[in-house]
Symmetry: C2
Subunit: 208 residues, 2 copies
Amino acid sequence: MNNELDINVDHEETARRSIGARRNPASQEAILDAAEALLRENGIAGFSIEAVARRARAGKPTIYRWWPHRTALMLDVYKRFKNAKSFPDTGTLRGDLVSFLENHLLGFWQGSLCGTVYRAVVAEAQTDKDAAELLQAYQAERKLHSARIVERAKARGEVPEETDAELMIDLVVSFAWHHLLLGQLDEAMNRVPQVVNMILKGVPGYRG
Amino acid sequence: MNNELDINVDHEETARRSIGARRNPASQEAILDAAEALLRENGIAGFSIEAVARRARAGKPTIYRWWPHRTALMLDVYKRFKNAKSFPDTGTLRGDLVSFLENHLLGFWQGSLCGTVYRAVVAEAQTDKDAAELLQAYQAERKLHSARIVERAKARGEVPEETDAELMIDLVVSFAWHHLLLGQLDEAMNRVPQVVNMILKGVPGYRG
């Protein structure tokens, strides 16, 4: 984690103009670094654009230009972690779905800042319309991305072309969300193979 | 909805003693009526124990004795609606699960106060430990109750005795929660038959 900023000025106006005018990606990173550091140190409660501005020695208007509210900034901190993770091909759809649940969802949230931050983002989306739209857009994008897992299985011939990839991914993500939001990540981790089995094969012995 | 109270006193102290001492279920109902009326009129934002006390002409300590915080009170308003609903036996597990999703979860939340209130309860559970415990306990109790749907199917011989009723209900509830919290109840309603099919029968043509 890089807490060193490339702006070493104390005067807010100068800092704001210098970051704002350049639109330097390094400065965006610096603000995200400051946001992440604050979240790590103090958690969600005291997190605000004001606090991030102070920490990053940037002007509030600069931050607001890129992130209209604190949820947007939290979601971008979260996304940086997420972007670092790819979907390794385990060779089977079952293996890929287990890995998706264990590494990208439950395990990614477990015992880390990411789970706390994402819970806060979901919470704010329940009462704030802008946060809700951000979260919807992020979810849609992520699900499209994750559906590659099923497309890979189609290419392998494991599932037919007409398989509803979106619904499969939706059920997996829904299960993970539910237990994140209930604070039951450990319990959910223990059920991963059963969840994947039920989605792939249904209820054994079902006669209907 | 009954907004008439059985205490017609304006002086708060008298009201508090009269409700508190009697522990009259009618008075608990009166407070829940007042809470529901406030939620209907003003939504979540201004909802507080103070506002409910004023509306019900009850003392705050009386309300706090039964409901330690506003989330507990919101959850009880929500439960009153929920308790009025039973699980009619449609004759098949598929039919029962479709009805569960359509009537008890998605449809119950859709276009009504219940969805808004439940979203607020889930949101508060993300940052408040007491709210989180309440929600966990409520969910555990509801899932146990809903598992009757699967027990009924076992009795019909539709699924084997060893079927994991808890996991089936969990996947159904998870799907519903996810779309409630994303504000996508309409979209979710359109996918109910596919969701139930995937849980019961898995992915058609899966070879793994």
